[in-house]
């Protein structure tokens, strides 16, 4: 097992898949010669050359349009949208074109493509470079939506996304890029649509995604150490397809659930999971599902302001403690 950072796992996954299938191509701004502004794609240009790893102009609609057109006609493109906030400048291509074309054409065309993007806050970049927008993508029928929390999952889920025949929006959480973790040797491919129970516990369950996973684990550890509360933690990993089986089975153990989201409050995936649990596990509910989210406010940039907004280990700890009180 090699230890890689979350950022290195990105290039590792892309290299694995590009080696395997020469229809896999990769495009984006400053991703080739410069290796990406987050240094997630270092080495790919040298390895696979300018035909397969291509720098583009600042033209996000063209980037995704090109990826779509190529996917419809035989390639398997990976496109980078540098910061997930920039999805807003090419949202039409994502939601009206990529997500709908297979359905609208009665299945005549297939859309095997991946859009990777750096998502989330915590790095003092201000409100236009810090959003967690996994809920934007989850709302749109026709998109698969993945957000890993560890280097191993980055590799395995990104590889699976590239092999998937449908469009996948792949969110890398930028506050995790420096995290290190073991990655299985050899080819590593995970499965979309699967959540993972990353910590066991019978008193409550915490559903988390991306950067909220390590925070939830730390909160759960402290809850156990301080108060003897044993909370399980579910890394949701895949918003679409959603692994409701794991979500529900874990819920039924305690009947007490908390969701921890980095996206702002209204209409987040936490609301979806909370509603699903209410709808389908109502008679097992011991407590209402409590959502822990960033408040419904744009993100501020100063250290203390931003830190106060994104769910922290302390806030998760406190909310679970108070909820079980």
């Amino acid at each position: 097992m090699a230890e890689l950072t979350y950022r290195e796992a990105v290039a590792d996954a892309i290299a694995q898949e590009m080696e395997r299938d020469d229809k896999v191509v990769f495009l984006g701004e400053d991703i080739a010669k410069a290796g990406g502004v987050f240094k997630t794609t270092v080495g790919l240009y040298d390895k696979f050359g300018p035909d397969r790893v291509r720098d583009t102009p600042i033209s996000e609609q063209a980037i995704l349009g090109a990826a779509m057109g190529a996917a419809m006609t035989g390639l398997r493109p990976i496109a980078e949208i540098m910061f997930s906030d920039f999805f807003a400048v090419c949202w039409d291509i994502v939601v009206n074109q990529i997500a709908k074309t297979r359905y609208m054409t009665g299945g005549q065309v297939t859309m095997p493509l991946v859009i990777r993007s750096a998502n989330g806050g915590g790095v003092r970049f201000g409100a236009q470079h810090s959003q967690s927008i996994e809920n934007w993508a989850m709302m749109i029928p026709g998109l698969k939506v993945i957000a890993p929390s560890t280097p191993a999952d980055v590799k395995g889920l990104l590889a699976a996304s590239i092999r998937d025949p449908d469009p996948v929006i792949f969110f890398e959480q930028k506050s995790l890029y420096g995290d290190k973790g073991e990655i299985p040797d050899g080819e590593h491919v995970d499965e979309l649509g699967t959540a993972k129970v990353v910590r066991d516990g019978a008193d409550a369950v915490i559903y988390a995604l991306a950067a909220m996973v390590p925070r939830s684990i730390r909160a759960a550890e402290r809850l156990e150490a301080d108060l003897g509360i044993r909370a399980s933690v579910v890394d949701v990993r895949s918003l679409v397809p959603l692994d409701t089986r794991t979500i529900f089975s874990e819920f039924r153990k305690s009947g007490r659930a908390f969701t921890v989201e980095e996206n702002p409050r209204l209409c987040g995936w936490g609301a979806e999971i909370s509603s699903l649990i209410t709808e389908e596990c109502f008679w097992d509910m011991d407590l209402p599902v409590t959502r822990i989210t960033t408040p419904h406010i744009p993100l501020a940039s100063a250290d203390n302001l931003e830190d106060q907004m994104i769910p922290s280990v302390d806030r998760i700890y406190e909310t679970v403690r108070a909820g079980l009180d």
Partner: protein, 317 residues
């Protein structure tokens, strides 16, 4: 080309009639008057080339060889429709024939067409991607991004602006900083300005053919502005009263169908040959109409299929 133009004309007229009988719902944007562009370009295209067009796309889909029954069936919301009734008038597609879709959001398909050209370039298939759009489309951002992108990557794509002088109800001149919405912008992408009489199928064929040759030679994209006029309103809902009578009259005199007919006769094609083609096209449209009418509406279950490549629509396990 005579046949292609007639097919479009009669099919579109039929679609118009079927509206009036309320057999077609929703909206529909006819290309009556603009047939020469579709026919001229399709004749320049080769099997394997790609067509990307707009909501005004019945013509472009048909001329690539899509079945008339499939087109009319789709407009009528029948299961025999090209899209099984799931897309409707604005999204006609026949991927097998290279008609890669009709796109109803202005501008979106320009970069998509560039993408198909990229795949062709990468796979060295020699295919060329054609992209049709209107004058009004030249003012949206995606136009600009796609043109620049296609040029710097030298993609084999032919952008065809059908300048019918109106974006919906507004004269293009009122909302555009230059006189020729496409040609006057070619220079912004290092391209030659090309303007062609869009009502002359032969003229269109010649510029389209040259653009194909350029693309195949690896010399990158072309941007063609074809001037034309639509005979009906923008869409089903539009009686087009905003157009000066004189302007309409002048353009009606330039109707591509009678013009092409005269030319054929002039060039010595016997009246009977010309007329027989007319008859056979009309018969084909009639047959297709009957077939589409007779087709059942889509099975309800179809609503739930083909979101994903596995054929289904599940978002959960």
């Amino acid at each position: 080309m005579w046949r292609l133009q007639l097919e479009v004309r009669h099919l579109e007229q039929r679609a118009h009639d079927l509206f009036l009988q309320n057999l077609i719902k929703g909206t529909s944007h006819l290309a009556v008057g603009q047939e020469a562009i579709a026919a001229g370009c399709a004749t320049a295209m080769r099997p394997g080339d790609y067509t990307f067009c707009t909501y005004r796309g019945h013509a472009h889909t048909l001329v690539r060889g899509a079945s008339m029954t499939g087109v009319l069936g789709e407009l009528m919301g029948k299961e025999c429709g090209l899209l099984q009734g799931k897309g409707g008038s604005m999204h006609l597609t026949d991927a097998e024939k290279g008609a890669m879709g009709s796109y109803a959001i202005i501008g979106a398909h320009l970069p998509i067409a560039a993408g198909a050209a990229w795949a062709a370039q990468y796979n060295k298939t020699g295919a060329v991607s054609f992209c049709f759009f209107g004058d009004g489309t030249t003012n949206i951002g995606a136009f600009h991004e796609a043109l620049n992108f296609a040029v710097i990557w030298k993609l084999p794509v032919v952008f065809v602006c059908e300048n019918n002088f109106y974006m919906e109800y507004t004269p293009i001149g009122e909302v555009t900083a230059v006189e020729h919405p496409a040609a006057d912008r070619a220079g912004a992408y290092g391209l030659e300005p090309i303007i062609v009489d869009g009502n002359d199928a032969d003229a269109v064929y010649r510029v389209a053919r040259a653009a194909v040759d350029k693309a195949v030679a690896g010399d990158g994209p072309s941007l063609i502005e074809a001037e034309t006029y639509r005979h009906y309103g923008h869409s089903r809902a539009d009686p087009a009263t905003y157009r000066p009578d004189k302007e309409v009259e002048e353009w009606m005199a330039k109707d591509p169908i009678p013009m092409y007919r005269s030319r054929l006769l002039e060039f010595g094609v016997p009246e009977k040959v010309v007329g027989d083609i007319e008859k056979s096209v009309l018969k084909a449209v009639n047959d297709a109409t009957e077939e589409a009418k007779a087709s059942p509406i889509p099975r309800d279950e179809l609503a739930l299929t083909d979101v994903w490549a596995d054929g289904g629509s599940a978002w959960r396990n």
